[in-house]
């Protein structure tokens, strides 16, 4: 399965965050692309909607 994480640094470092995530080869998260930063049903219409989680 092409489940791959591109980290923005050493994955064991406290400073590191995922940059891109692929599941079964499909890119489902991209920290640089707001369209690939999902907002859950719960957040929708709540005071924190749109604030980065």
């Amino acid at each position: 399965m092409a489940d791959i994480v591109l980290w923005n640094g050493n994955p064991f470092s406290v400073y590191t965050r995922p940059e891109k995530v692929w599941v079964d080869g499909a890119m489902l998260y991209d920290s640089n692309n707001p369209r690939l930063r999902p907002v859950s049903d719960f957040e929708l219409g709540q005071p924190g909607e749109g604030v980065v989680k």
Binding site: F12, S13, V14, Y15, R17, S31, Q46, P47, V51, V52
Partner: protein, 434 residues
Amino acid sequence: MRCLLLGLAALIAAPALAQTTGQTTAIVGGTLAIGDGSPPLPNGTVLFRNGRIVAAGNAVEVPAGATVIDAHGKWVAAGIVAGFTDISIAEIMGAREGNDTRAPKSPFSAGLDISSAVNPRSAVLGLERSGGVTRAIVSPEAAASIFGGQGAVISLGPDPITRPRAFEFVELGEQGGQNAGGSRPAAFAMLHDALAQSEEFRRNPSALGGHEKESLVKRSDAEALVAVLEGKMPLLAHVERANDILAVLALRNEYPKLQLILLGATEGWMVAQQIAAAHVPVIAAALSDLPEDFERLGATESNVGLLDRAGVQVAISTINQTEPQQQRRLTQLAGNLVGFGRLPGATGLEWGPAFATITSRPAHALGLDGEIGSLRRGRRADVVIWDNDPLELSSAPVAIFIDGIAQSTRSRETELRDRYMTPTEGSLPKAYER
């Protein structure tokens, strides 16, 4: 110059070295993490004498006769000040009788003095100290009232109480509402009535009843709340919801001398400007990012960064973290804030302010930043030498000084680890090895 290029282990074996009155200790060559918000400073020197910092920086001369510790390749950091803890007043979860944090059946509340429960021999101290924690804010929890009682600042070294009765703890959010009988208005009614009775007591001490079984304010409670009203003892208020934060800030309209500190403040980012304008420090929940209850619907990892950006003096604590709330994890939580700052669209902290959230800023919140929380001149010499960047997961302290006195870096946990590290087939059980 008496140059003792000691192995750090040897230093621990001879703690008397640093205790000699008048003797200066110089830690040279390390990267300094001063704790005051400044960035790490490579190749610096820290001097301390008689339990106090004399100097820390790049242009510090080592005086003749000083005991010199070589810290090249290491980090020399201010000891961690843990922002909101039960260190030394609770042993483990689930053992009620060994836990002095709450007193649900006591008729007393605001007057309870947690410093009388501090146990400097608690096994917890060794573990926390081995993670670089040198001081802790210890707070009672509120149970039968909105008030928990008077918290303390403690040392994890030989002299346990740094400041008794350092603050009064009060619940004014969802928990406060429940404690007061079921709603936020009930919590504020209890607060105003307790403060009014305390004000009457201040004017005429003999007028206070307080002996009836159901009385809201006992004598010791009134004494503590008078100190709060006069601004002599800060009021640490636990609130999470934005509107509850504003309600706490508004208390100063009625009680102008109140010294307020906000605890938790998960939705603080929504009212960050108001908090900053009121000059009220915050001991925030670190990385509270899930809407686990209705008062935290606006939870976001950007909270601390946004509060800082608005000019709030924000520290962090393990409140709202999953139990057990080990304070040695504060370095990781501060490191997360740095990492979060590198995520597009998020707001975190630079390294210096992130380290300050677990050193000088909790001290500042209690008005103790002249005494603890940084390596600036005159502060207590709480100094930790780390093998690398203290906020990194793989780093560990190799030497710890509290009030300038070398402390053990070992704990019950290291004893157990070492006992079982090397199993030997055919030998007696480990309990026979000493």
